[in-house]
């Protein structure tokens, strides 16, 4: 479903991605784990071509995304949901307008059908009451939920999560992790979750990739990570037990 081959990316002298390769099978959740600033978000943004890699290929549903025209790329992007680290809600729009935005742009649904879909998606993330609020009136956890709802509203086949629990308290982080699992159970999407939160990683992943110094130093299941002797894996596990 998603195949990344030998991706290289550097910013000036700093090598961020140094020949990264991996595959995410359809309907599974892969977690990319790593310290802050190690290049996880850069990798995720390369997958949707928000950032162009210096070298390497990325295939989504068999299509090499660097060879797609803008129109083809946008058609593909309609099948991809992306939850940004900051949730990236449109400040000038209410929650209703934020959720309706992709539907207005990309579907022929009537106003009443859009309203129904917005309400239905808000129910999924447990925030029906927030429909008329502005983003500035929402807490960090609520913003993430609304961001998730907006990402899901076109029923994407692929869902990319960029640090979904950054800046949230542990209780809200667990709620977001549960929401990711619930959405996966409901929609059977192909997920990539980028995080440094072990709770999210262990609870949501079918497979975990540990990124360090521009490449993966671990590739395995959550159980294998727990048993791993790799120093960085042990450090992550110890922080999750603190």
């Amino acid at each position: 479903m998603i195949r990344v081959e030998n991706i290289y990316k550097r910013f000036g002298d700093l090598v961020v991605l140094n020949g990264v390769s991996f595959e995410v099978p359809k309907g599974t959740t892969t977690v990319i784990l790593g310290r802050s600033g190690i290049g996880k978000s850069v990798l995720l943004k390369c997958i949707v071509r928000l950032i162009e890699p210096d070298d390497g290929k990325i295939f989504i549903e068999g299509k090499n995304i660097s060879e797609l025209s803008l129109k083809e790329l946008n058609d593909l992007r309609k099948d991809i949901g992306f939850l940004f680290q900051s949730a990236a809600l449109y400040d000038s729009m209410s929650v209703r307008e934020n959720l309706a935005f992709p539907l207005v742009r990309h579907t022929d649904l009537s106003d009443s059908e859009i309203e129904e879909r917005v309400k239905e998606t808000l129910r999924l993330v447990g925030l029906s009451e927030a429909i008329d609020k502005m983003p500035s009136e929402l807490s960090g956890g609520m913003r993430k939920r609304i961001g998730l709802a907006r990402s899901l509203i076109l029923h994407p086949k692929i869902m990319l999560y960029d640090e979904p629990t950054t800046g949230l308290d542990p209780v809200t982080s667990k709620e977001i992790a549960k929401l990711i699992i619930d959405m996966q159970n409901k929609f059977k999407m192909t997920n990539i979750v980028v995080t440094h939160d072990m709770v999210v990683a262990l609870s949501t992943a079918d497979r975990i990739l540990l990124l360090d110094n521009g490449n993966f130093i671990f590739d395995g299941t959550p159980d294998e990570l727990i048993k791993s002797e790799i120093d960085m894996a042990k450090k992550f596990l110890s922080t999750s037990l603190d």
């Binding site: 058609d75 992007r77 991809i80 992306f82 940004f84 900051s86 990236a88 400040d91 742009r105």
Partner: protein, 256 residues
Amino acid sequence: MKFVENIKYFFSVIGGLTDFTIRFFLEVFRPPYEISEIRKHMDELGVKTFSIVSVTGFIIGLVLGMQSQPVLARFGAEMFLPGMIALSVIRELGPVLTALIFAGRVGSGIGAELGSMRVTEQIDAMEVSAVDPFRFLVVTRVIATTLMLPLLTIYVDFIAILGGYVAVIITQNMTFPYYIQLILDAIRFSDLIPGISKTFVFGFVVGIVGSYLGFNASKGTEGVGKASTTSVVISSLLILLIDSVLVRLTLIIFPD
């Protein structure tokens, strides 16, 4: 040293602006035209600037009238005061001062708004959701500023002429219809066209500069602040530079 860096920065902005402007003209004629979004921005711009341009317009006319009246009186030419106020306002003061206020109020707002959208990943979110942020955010705003500034300038011209009338009646006994008649006698069609025409250019400058700096903002909140303040400085400078060129051009096209 700082001065040299500022000059370098100014020219790097001008280079980037040129590419941005070319991109604008490549995109502007392609559908969809986002009419409702343009209308929304025009409404916002009107509301944002209405009160400040009203006050400014009135004071321009009033002060111009009060300053000029004693000078004209020395030559016994007080009857020319209404015409002089109207010509000064319509040809130069109205367009340029309205544009400078517009740059301060609207240009900084666009720079801050788009800059904030950039650093909080809202522009990325739009791009990922298969909506072209350049078309949706930039093209609509630039069209709105280009169309709105001429309308505001016409309004300011009228308000300034009213302010001028107040200055006139302080020292002279003149009815309003007679004041207007003297103005109509003094101005010609060739006085109206250049003043209004150049405001389309000024409106475009304010929109494109604010959008360019906001759209390319970086470095978090510091970048947003810089986009906002720099857009005022650059667009004000460009307005004055372009004005000096257009004045010369106008005098060539309309020699009288």
